[in-house]
């Protein structure tokens, strides 16, 4: 009997449900799994067009980003080896650890670092020598020459004397000029326009090591001694019973090389304000937290801090404490807010304090302008061009396949 009642109840329920369903047909369609659906089919036209479209969008984007990257002028100078005096070359560690030795070092910046750049600049220069300077002194080429010479470090190459027979000159004109134009477009840098960013680059430095990256107390950075949660900071947490402010390995290993830039006879102004994120200064590092006992223990790590300046103004520390995800990274040191010209020779007086010798790390000084995509990085541009071209290749392959097998698509390879 119960079963019968149950059935009746069900009947009622279902009839009710169907009533409701007719009113809310979408619910009905859902319960009946009959929602209108878009059923995409991978038709040849659709797929080939997609790939072509991606290809045609990506290659220009790639060219644009490559251009942006190439428009950035960048001077990289590795100084960690050269700045060790000759007598300490075999004992760099001893040199850097002993504070009694003078650490100052003077560098003259040169622009070109890589072989491929050297090669292409060589071509450009040759073509200029023949075509622009001697044969076709047009305005356009003049400008180009200027921009080329604007790149620091071309001086030497340009001053070399080059003579050749006329036929060869004509050949250069025909063969090299287009290449030179192209390379000039991609390669040749303008003089460096302000602001010029000064970075220090550390290679083989593992700021992302688990032990290191965890060893900090964000609470303490913001609230100072008010926060006692310094257990994360091991092994650099306390000194004489008081927590170190700021505690932890990250702060302790603060980078402390310094740079001074001299152009000609005067020193260049380096703006070292606003190098850290504003959000960090305002919300992550306390305005009333002073590093009163920083680096005062027995073991001294990296740089020291002025104990009368609150952490929110210690921008070097703030920059340093934004840990890098890669073992090779650059951090902002400051900005030069003047343009650097082609003939400018920059002398850098630096203090080589930071120890990278124990683990074979490299220290580099980088001067770089910036573009809308950031600093000099060819990777996105090349990757875009690569992806775009493989899309086009795939589209072409599929087109050929389609033409070949269009008669029996359905049966395929039976």
């Amino acid at each position: 009997m119960k079963a019968i009642y149950l059935n009746v109840a069900w009947k009622d329920a279902t009839s009710l449900l169907s009533q409701i369903d007719t009113e809310f047909s979408t619910i009905n369609k859902f319960t009946q799994q009959n929602l209108p659906a878009c059923k995409p089919v991978l038709t040849p036209a659709w797929v080939i067009l997609t790939f072509l479209l991606i290809g045609t969008i990506f290659i220009p984007i790639g060219l644009v980003s490559l251009h942006a990257s190439r428009s950035v002028v960048e001077i990289v100078d590795r100084y960690d080896i050269d700045c060790v005096p000759e007598q300490f070359k075999s004992n760099k560690l001893g040199y850097i650890k002993d504070s009694s030795y003078p650490k100052n070092c003077s560098r003259t910046l040169k622009g070109i670092r890589w072989l491929k750049d050297l090669f292409s600049c060589f071509l450009v220069m040759l073509s200029l020598r023949f075509s622009a300077v001697k044969i076709l002194p047009t305005d356009a080429v003049q400008i180009k020459k200027e921009t080329l010479e604007g790149t620091l470090g071309f001086q030497l190459l340009l001053h070399g004397n080059f003579t050749a027979p006329l036929g060869a000159k004509a050949l250069w004109l025909v063969a090299i000029e287009p290449i030179a134009w192209f390379l000039g477009f991609v390669m040749v840098n303008r003089y460096m326009k302000a602001p010029i960013y000064i970075y220090y680059q550390l290679d083989n430095y593992y700021q992302n090591h688990r032990r290191y990256v965890k060893s900090r107390s964000d609470q303490q950075l913001l609230h100072g001694l008010g926060s006692n949660k310094t257990s994360l900071c091991k092994p650099e947490q306390s000194n004489n019973g008081l927590p170190i402010v700021p505690c932890g390995l990250v702060a302790w290993s603060l980078f402390n090389d310094t740079y001074k830039f001299i152009r000609g006879k005067s020193e260049l102004n380096v703006n070292r304000k606003n190098i850290a994120w504003k959000s960090d200064r305002d919300h992550k590092f306390g305005k009333h937290v002073y590093p009163f006992n920083f680096q005062s223990g027995t073991l001294i790590g990296g740089g020291k801090l002025n104990s009368s300046v609150p952490l929110s103004d210690q921008e070097d520390l703030i920059v340093w404490m934004r840990t890098a995800a890669l073992p090779s990274f650059r951090k902002l040191y400051g900005r030069i807010e003047e343009n650097l010209h082609a003939n400018d020779v920059i002398v850098v007086n630096l203090m080589n304090n930071y120890n990278t010798y124990s683990f074979g790390g490299k220290k580099k000084l980088v001067l770089s302008t910036s573009s809308w995509l950031g600093g000099k990085n060819d990777f996105p541009g090349f990757a875009y061009i690569f992806v775009g071209s493989y899309c086009i290749v795939i589209a072409i392959v599929f087109m050929l396949l389609h033409v070949k097998y269009s008669r029996n698509t359905h049966v395929g390879y039976n």
Binding site: L42, Y199, S358
Partner: protein, 856 residues
């Protein structure tokens, strides 16, 4: 009917997922050990030189374990925990879809289908054997009295309905004594209870549908069973009322196959024995003088028509004889030991020298759509066994009428019978031999076995019978008991077949519980079976929809969902592993814990949950091409090979995301939180595209879930970026303002999805699976004919294959689709069982020959 506690059922797909989880676990352990060792080596060689890491000079020995343990934590997300929750959610949705399905509501009773067990919907799509009850399952169990033979006269042969036969009505009204006796037996030899309603109608409550039919028929012939008051029965014949007192009821048992009542006519004090039962239980006990030939013929004729026959008989008892017997019967009833046997023996003493009155024939009509359902499901490669308590002839007739077996010459039915071990063995061997030979012929071979022979076969010749079971696609087992039904299910399960048992009565409960999937028909025999079953449906024909639509979709969806869950977990885990190589193998996590958690339980779970709405083919297409179920049966959408594909995809995507992120965000941009968010964004974008690409039908819900999820990813991260206390304060705002962030993300998407799309398109167009072909045909309106047009390959020589195979060899189906080796899969079910269509198994050597499609 001891139901017992059924074991929890585990679907084949769950078992596969468990296996894959195990494999991933082993992989995880290997990764952890390798990275742990590498980490310790790096620590000792490099990290000690790095003063800023400040490793203590000497630590306790267990320091060696710290790095491996860190990696274990880092890799623990490799096994997606969310898969269990997601699967449970979608499984209950599958079950709800079954409950909701309007097309599976029985219109007559308004009974909807119901999934009691919400966990095994995928198994429905992988069914290989269906064991079905006959009465009430294939038939309506709505018994209608159709014909009868009284004293050698056939009634109802012309019209097909005895109740409309004028001659019978004439005979009744003329008061022919044979007919009156016949009707009396029909009316009172039963355990029916009449209930008078207020309006004066009489409503019968019967345990057995047959008795109900007989009583109703008698009433139509003016012999109305009016009332039952304690032991007094009241019968109205025409105008007169006759009363009988029931002295004893000799109940029906399946061994005796008959029941009797002893009644006393209240008017003339005559004591009568009224008996009805199966022919073989009645006719041999006829009184010596009587000619039973006509009745044998009647029984034969009726069962040829698929009617259920009952013989009716009576005998006048002398007063003394009854009294003596009555004492014995009481004694037997009160025995404690072997009571049933004793009662049967005592009953035997009374039930002899019977005067046969006639034979009734009751029709039990086939349910609507049964033949079509069976045909469709057999095309789908499912084998059918019929297990019934009915007699062999009736069972065979029903089997013929519902396409279960084909009539000669297309089909061949082999009988296994015998009463002794030897006879059964000989019979079994003969049948086996025939089977082996005929597997080569395009012929439907089925075997029929009765309960007795089955008992012997299962007991002594289990091995041979198993071989037979594997060889034969169709079997009819008659006169089987409930426990034998369960044993047969057990037998098929032991051969590693997925079985579905369907039945409606209490005697099917054990079979239903034993089978991988139990389906109960909520029919006239009560709800016992439906309650014990995993699924209850109103009519047999819904089975088609249950398996082909719900089962198949469930399997496909779960196959995608589970592999996708592994894919996304592996993706993020591979990135972490790659990152550990540039972070000094120290076990640093690139992603913060919040992102990791949200990634698994939120960002990637929501979009994939809506894949529970995906439909690769429309229902109509599946119904038209049931062969496509083969992909599910052979487990071709989820197996180590497809899983390897997803594994490779996650590795590829991890490389793409990682390489692009760290190169695009190198040098001055390589801030930890930013790189982490760029990589995470890459993963989220990729997975949105992967789900979109793998979805066959995009409904509005799926679009919302996939792209809404992407939007919510940004929304959530903006919220976190707005909280000064969170670690990623301002990060997301900064990133979204940078053009390089967007160029990086699009680069990741294009680089990651391009090859996937190209590969998918290539397979879809030039190496299409049958599903793809149907999809194309369905969506582009192209010819579907190409499906069937694939020519079967020439048949190989037969002897070669049959002899070396042994019974113990497990079935060997290759779930891995190897399109490059041959178009047709190398699936070879042992002995060609279940190789119904050339279409899929052109190279399946044994089976190619055994094609059913061609015949139909």
């Amino acid at each position: 009917m001891c139901r017992g506690i059924p074991e929890p059922k585990l679907t084949a797909i769950d078992a596969m997922i468990d296996k894959l989880t195990g494999a991933i676990f082993v992989f995880q352990i290997v990764v952890v050990i390798v990275l742990g060792i590498a980490g310790n080596v790096w620590k000792d060689t490099e990290a000690r030189k790095q003063w800023y890491v400040k490793y203590p000079e000497e630590g306790p020995w267990f320091e060696l374990l710290i790095i491996p343990l860190r990696f274990e934590l880092l890799c623990s997300i490799m096994i997606p925990i969310s898969i269990k929750v997601s699967l449970d959610l979608v499984k209950s949705l599958y079950a709800k879809f079954i409950d909701w399905d309007n097309e599976m509501i029985d219109q007559e009773t308004g009974t909807p289908s119901h999934a009691t067990n919400t966990a095994i919907s995928e198994d429905l799509g992988q069914v290989e054997y269906i064991l079905t009850d006959k009465t009430g399952t294939l038939t309506e169990n709505k018994m209608i009295f159709r014909r009868c033979c009284i004293n050698g006269v056939f009634y109802g042969n012309d019209s097909g309905d005895a109740l409309k036969d004028v001659e019978l009505h004439n005979a009744v009204s003329s008061g022919s004594p044979d007919v009156i006796h016949f009707l009396t037996v029909m009316a009172i030899c039963n355990t029916v209870i009449p209930i008078k309603t207020k309006t004066g109608d009489i409503f019968y409550k019967a345990q057995s549908q047959d008795e109900d039919a007989l009583v109703r028929a008698a009433a139509r012939l003016h012999m109305v069973f009016v009332n039952k008051n304690a032991n007094i029965l009241e019968i109205k014949f025409n105008a007169s009322t006759i009363q009988y007192e029931v002295l004893e009821t000799l109940e029906f048992t399946s061994d005796r196959k008959r029941m009797s009542v002893v009644v006393k006519d209240c008017q003339n004090e005559e004591i009568l024995l009224l008996t009805k039962g199966a022919d073989e239980a009645i006719l041999p006990f006829a009184c010596p003088g009587q000619q039973t030939r006509a009745y044998f013929e009647a029984v034969e004729q009726y069962s040829q028509l698929g009617l259920r026959t009952l013989c009716l008989a009576w005998r006048q008892l002398k007063g003394d004889e009854y009294k003596e017997w009555s004492l014995l019967f009481k004694e037997a009833n009160s025995t404690l030991v072997d009571r049933e046997w004793r009662i049967a023996e005592v009953c035997q003493r009374l039930e002899h020298d019977l005067e046969i009155l006639g034979v009734t024939a009751i029709e039990d009509r086939l349910q609507d759509g049964v033949p079509e359902t069976i045909e469709t499901l057999r095309k789908a490669g499912i084998n059918f066994w019929m297990l019934t308590g009915d007699k062999q002839n009736t069972a065979i007739q029903i089997a013929l009428s519902c396409n279960f077996i084909s009539p000669e010459p297309k089909g061949q039915l082999l009988l296994i019978d015998g009463k002794t071990e030897d006879e059964v063995r000989q019979s079994l061997e003969r049948v086996l031999l025939t089977m082996r030979i005929t597997t080569s012929e395009p012929k439907d071979v089925a075997f029929a076995v009765d309960g007795w022979a089955l008992e012997i076969a299962l007991k002594y010749y289990r091995k041979a019978f198993t071989e037979l079971a594997i060889l034969s696609r169709t079997a009819i087992c008659c006169r089987v008991t409930p426990s034998q039904k369960a044993q047969l299910v057990e037998l098929l399960k032991s051969c590693d077949y997925r079985t579905l048992a369907i039945g409606d009565g209490g005697n099917d409960v054990r079979m239903i519980q034993q089978a991988d999937i139990g389906v109960g028909i909520s029919g006239r025999e009560g709800l016992q079976a439906a309650r014990a079953a995993d699924y209850s449906i109103g009519k047999f024909r819904f089975l088609k929809r249950l398996i082909l639509v719900h089962g198949r979709y469930s399997y496909n969806r779960t196959a995608f969902l589970s592999q996708y869950s592994f894919y996304k977990s592996l993706l993020i885990c591979f990135i972490q592993i790659f990152f550990s190589f540039i972070s000094g193998v120290s076990g640093t996590s690139l992603f913060n814990s919040l992102s990791l958690m949200a990634y698994n339980v939120f960002y990637t779970s929501i979009p994939v949950l809506v894949s529970a709405l995906d439909k690769d083919l429309s229902e109509e297409t599946v119904m038209q091409h049931p062969q496509i179920l083969f992909y599910c049966q052979a487990g071709r959408l989820l197996n180590p090979s497809t899983f390897a594909g997803w594994f490779g995809r996650s590795l590829f995507h991890a490389i793409v995301v990682f390489v692009i992120s760290i190169h695009a965000y190198a040098y001055e941009k390589s801030e930890m939180e930013e790189v982490s968010m760029v990589a995470l964004s890459g993963c989220i974008w990729l997975q949105a595209f992967v789900v979109t690409l793998e979805t066959n039908s995009l409904t509005i819900l799926q679009c919302i879930a996939i792209w809404g999820n992407l939007a919510s990813f940004y929304f959530i991260n903006w919220i976190f970026s707005a909280l000064p206390s969170s670690g990623m304060y301002t990060i997301m705002f900064r990133l979204c303002r940078q053009p390089s962030y967007w160029t990086t993300v699009f680069l990741i998407v294009a680089a990651g999805m391009g090859p996937i799309l190209a590969l998918k398109y290539f397979r879809y167009t030039y190496r299409p699976s049958k599903i793809n072909i149907l999809q194309q045909a369905e969506r582009l309106g192209g010819p579907i004919l190409s499906l069937g047009s694939i020519e079967p390959q020439p048949r190989p020589i037969l002897e070669k294959e049959v002899s070396p195979l042994s019974i113990t060899q497990p079935k060997n189906r290759n779930p891995v689709y190897e399109p490059l080796l041959s178009d047709s899969p190398n699936t070879r079910r042992s002995f060609g069982s279940g190789a119904p269509f050339d279409f899929f198994q052109t190279q399946s050597r044994l089976s190619s020959s055994y094609s059913r499609n061609k015949d139909n």
